[in-house]
């Protein structure tokens, strides 16, 4: 007999109105594709069909062990309202969707932290997507924008000339000279935006968007509609 242990990300969601449920799934498909959906509510044939069709992993009305904090931000994200997503984030999510539909990601990150990527192109290079956790000592240096879907551990570093969008736990250092930085609260590590240190106390939203408002740096929450 063989037995394996996995760490799985679970997204818990209530099903009351099948229409709005499906709208939500459709809007967040790229982000939810790697989660196990734990659905509370009555099974609906249309919903079931949709879930099967798009290869979602799901459970209905199954009790789960106590949840952990990391998951919370996602739920908050969809509960709040208004304001618009920057172009780069929209592109990032589009790109992520495409990648998830493709077989294997072609993005390579150096591991030991010694080799670094050089970018000599004049134009801003395409968005780089990092879909594995960054470990201590690993460095992502990039001439464009970077989207990181997994955690960035203490001692890891991301330096981008473009924007940085981090969706997992961030404990490493970030430095961006792009349009914006989108991060959850940071308990560790430093965040530099155009060379200016952003104090961690200011990152009080589940997801924070740091950008310029004229000369000043502003920090705004990322809200619901932006993912629609």
């Amino acid at each position: 007999m063989q037995c394996r242990q996995y760490n799985v990300k679970v997204f818990e969601i209530g099903l009351e109105d099948p229409r709005s449920f499906l709208n939500f799934l459709e809007a967040n498909r790229a982000l939810l594709a790697h989660h196990l959906l734990s659905i509370r509510g009555e099974e609906d044939p249309e919903v079931l069909e949709y879930l099967e069709e798009h290869g979602f992993h799901y459970l209905f009305n199954t009790p789960l062990p106590p949840a952990r904090r990391g998951v919370e931000k996602f739920r908050m994200l969809v509960r709040e309202e208004e304001s618009s997503l920057p172009r780069e984030v929209r592109e990032a999510l589009e790109r992520l969707k495409e990648l998830q539909e493709a077989e294997e990601p072609e993005i390579e990150i150096e591991g030991g932290g010694e080799e670094r990527e050089e970018d000599t192109e004049e134009r801003e290079p395409p968005l780089k997507i990092v879909r594995h956790p960054l470990r201590s000592g690993q460095v992502v240096e990039y001439g464009g924008s970077v989207l990181l879907t997994e955690r960035i551990n203490s001692g890891a570093k991301v330096a981008a000339l473009g924007s940085i969008i981090a969706l997992g736990v961030v404990e490493g250092d970030l430095s961006s000279s792009g349009e914006c930085v989108i991060v959850p609260p940071m308990s560790r590590g430093t965040l530099l935006f155009h060379g200016t240190k952003v104090e961690p106390e200011l990152l009080k939203y589940p997801l924070n968007k740091i950008s310029f408002a004229g000369e000043a740096i502003q920090i705004q929450p990322i809200k619901k509609k932006e993912f629609h």
Binding site: M1, C3, R4, Q5, N7, R68, G70, E110, G111, G112, G113, P133, R135, S136, G137, Q138, R151, N153, S154, G155, V169, E171
Partner: protein, 270 residues
Amino acid sequence: MSKVIAVISGKGGVGKTTTTANVGLGIAMNRRQCVVVDFDIGQRNLDMILGLENRVVYDMVQVMDGEAKLEQALIRSKAHSNLHFLPASQTKDKSVLDSEKIRQLLDDLRQRFEYVILDAPAGIESGFEHTIEFADEAIIVVNPEVSSIRDSDRAIGILDSKSRKVLEGGEVKKHLIINRIDPEMVERGEMLSHTDILEILSIDLLGMVPEDRNVIDASNQGHPIILDEQSEAGQAYRRIAKRLCGEQTPLVVPQVRKKGLVGKLKGLFG
């Protein structure tokens, strides 16, 4: 099929060598032929923990250089006949290590043993890189504290980018041992819990070893703690060894020791 397993930690002093000795002995106790190799060139200490200090004649470097035969350098453990030990060189420097010679040595060991366990040096320098170079699997030993976790995270990063298996498109299987857990401190929230650590490192958990004062004494005596059936740490290592040998054993989270009646009453009224 024999396996080469590197025991790594990044940070020093977390119990890597103690783990190597106990895991190696545990595998031998599960009726498998096992050899533990001290890769910490220039700083021999696995021999002491195994109580084989005075048996060392030839070392690994001499075998690699052809100055001694492998049979001459291998030492059979007093504690179990299935366990052998290959000592590190005390005099030479780690710069003597050479990839081709290491590959040859490990291939020879694979012929003789089912489990080849390598005790890596602390740090992430050349000695460490040589230890992980030809490993099939790795045991990562951490203590529940942030500096240990961060250093092992770094070591895992190097393992995942520099080992031959990864460079050839494969994967080095990684097992986590959380050593020196103090359940009371975890309960008070003063120590990282195993779930916190797993979340950071995202690798499979092989076992949890509670803090146990007897470990130090056992190491000093050259009598690994796994031989002590009463010891909680010894029991934890027994379970770990069984898991490595493919046997199912439940994961045991170290618990705060239950108070006796008097303690409970004190708790009630105190």
